[in-house]
C-alpha cells in the first residue's frame, strides 16, 4: 500500500505521467547494476572464507602429522600438545564453515533476487513502450501506476536483501582479516595461544631429530681443529697482510 501511494505521488507531480516511466526505468537499471555488484561482493567474501577453511584444514592436518611423529619418538607430551591445538583449530574450522555456508545462502538469495528484478525490469521496459505508443497522457495514468507500484515494491525488497547481504559481508570481512593475520603469523599452528608466532612443537621435534646429527658434526669439527692447530694460525697471518698489500696476500694463498 505504501509503495502504491508513493508511486502515485510521483505520478501527480509529473507534467506528463509518461515521463515517470522513463525516470522509473532509469532507477531500475541502476538498481539492477547495484544488485549484480552486490552478488559479486558476496561471492568474493565467500571465496575468501573458502580459502581460509582450506588453510585451517591444512593446519589441523599438520598438527595430526606432528602428533604421530612425536609418538614415534616416544614424546607423548608433545603428541598431546599437538592434538590439543588441533582440536582448537577444528573448533575454529567448524565456526568458519558455518559462516561460509551462511554467506553462500545470502549469495544464492541475492542471485535469485537479481534474476527476479531483471525479469521485472525487462517486463517494465516492454510495458513502458506499449503505454507510450498506445495511450494518451490522460489514459496512461492508471496503467503507469500499476506498473510502477509493482516494480517499486520489488526494488524495495531487493534493497532490503542487499542491505542484509552487505551487513553480513562486512561482519565477515573484519573476521576474515583477523584470521588472515593469525594465519600469516603462524599462530594457528599454536591454536591454543593465538598471537604466539612460532611453532614450538615442530621446533621440539626438529631439535630431537637433529640432535644426533649435530653431535656427530660437532665431533668431526672438534677432531679437525685438534689435528691442525697450527694451520689456523698460518691462515690468519696472510689475511692480516692482505689488508696492507693485497698482492702479497694472494701470493701466499696460492
Amino acid at each position: 500500500m505504501l509503495f502504491r501511494i508513493k508511486a502515485n505521488k510521483a505520478l501527480d507531480r509529473a507534467e506528463d505521467p509518461r515521463e515517470v516511466l522513463d525516470y522509473s526505468y532509469e532507477r531500475q537499471v541502476e538498481m539492477l547494476a547495484k544488485v549484480r555488484r552486490g552478488v559479486a561482493d558476496v561471492a568474493t567474501s565467500r571465496k575468501r572464507l573458502e580459502l581460509q577453511v582450506g588453510q585451517l584444514q591444512a593446519s589441523a592436518d599438520k598438527l595430526t602429522g606432528q602428533a604421530q611423529q612425536a609418538l614415534t619418538i616416544g614424546r607423548e607430551d608433545l603428541a598431546r600438545e599437538a592434538l590439543t591445538r588441533k582440536q582448537a583449530a577444528l573448533a575454529q574450522l567448524a565456526d568458519l564453515r558455518a559462516q561460509r555456508d551462511g554467506l553462500a545462502g545470502e549469495e544464492a538469495k541475492l542471485t535469485l533476487a537479481a534474476q527476479r528484478l531483471q525479469a521485472k525490469v525487462e517486463a517494465f521496459r516492454t510495458r513502458k513502450e506499449t503505454i507510450k505508443a498506445t495511450y494518451t497522457a490522460a489514459e496512461a495514468q492508471t496503467r503507469i501506476g500499476e506498473a510502477v507500484s509493482g516494480i517499486s515494491e520489488e526494488m524495495s525488497d531487493v534493497g532490503l536483501a542487499m542491505q542484509r547481504a552487505e551487513d553480513k559481508t562486512a561482519q565477515m570481512q573484519s573476521r576474515a582479516a583477523a584470521i588472515d593475520e593469525l594465519l600469516a603469523s603462524g599462530a594457528l599452528d599454536d591454536a591454543t595461544a593465538p598471537g604466539g608466532a612460532r611453532d614450538d612443537i615442530q621446533a621440539a621435534l626438529d631439535t630431537q631429530r637433529g640432535a644426533a646429527g649435530i653431535d656427530a658434526e660437532l665431533a668431526t669439527m672438534k677432531g679437525q681443529l685438534a689435528a691442525a692447530p697450527d694451520r689456523a694460525a698460518i691462515d690468519a697471518e696472510p689475511a692480516a697482510k692482505a689488508i696492507a698489500a693485497p698482492g702479497a696476500g694472494q701470493e701466499t694463498k696460492s
Binding site: A113, Q118, K120
Partner: protein, 92 residues
C-alpha cells in the same frame, strides 16, 4: 490476494484460504506478544510454508503490487515487530 515473502518473491493465494492463514497468523502474533523467540521462529516457518503450499508463485516478470508482505525465515522478532500491525501480519 497477492502475498510477498521478503526476498523470495510473490504468491497468489486464493481468498478461500484466508481463514487458515489467519489462524496461523494468530499463533504467530501470540508468540510475538509473549516475546518468545523460539515459538516465533516456529510459527513464522509454519505461516511461510502455508503460503508456499496454498499459493501459486507469480512469474518473475509479473508487475503486481502485493496486498501483504511477510518476512522470510531469517527474520528475527525485532525486525518483525516493526512490520506488524495490531491485527497481525494478515489483516482481517
Amino acid at each position: 490476494m497477492i502475498i510477498r515473502i521478503l526476498g523470495a518473491g510473490q504468491y497468489d493465494v486464493a481468498d478461500a484460504h484466508l481463514d487458515e492463514l489467519n489462524a496461523l497468523d494468530e499463533r504467530l502474533n501470540t508468540a510475538v506478544q509473549a516475546d518468545d523467540g523460539a515459538a516465533f521462529g516456529q510459527e513464522l516457518r509454519g505461516l511461510l510454508a502455508a503460503v508456499r503450499r496454498l499459493g501459486t508463485a507469480l512469474p518473475d516478470d509479473a508487475l503486481t503490487a502485493s496486498d501483504l508482505v511477510i518476512p522470510d525465515e531469517d527474520a528475527d522478532l525485532a525486525q518483525v515487530r516493526a512490520l506488524l500491525r495490531d491485527d497481525g501480519l494478515i489483516p482481517g
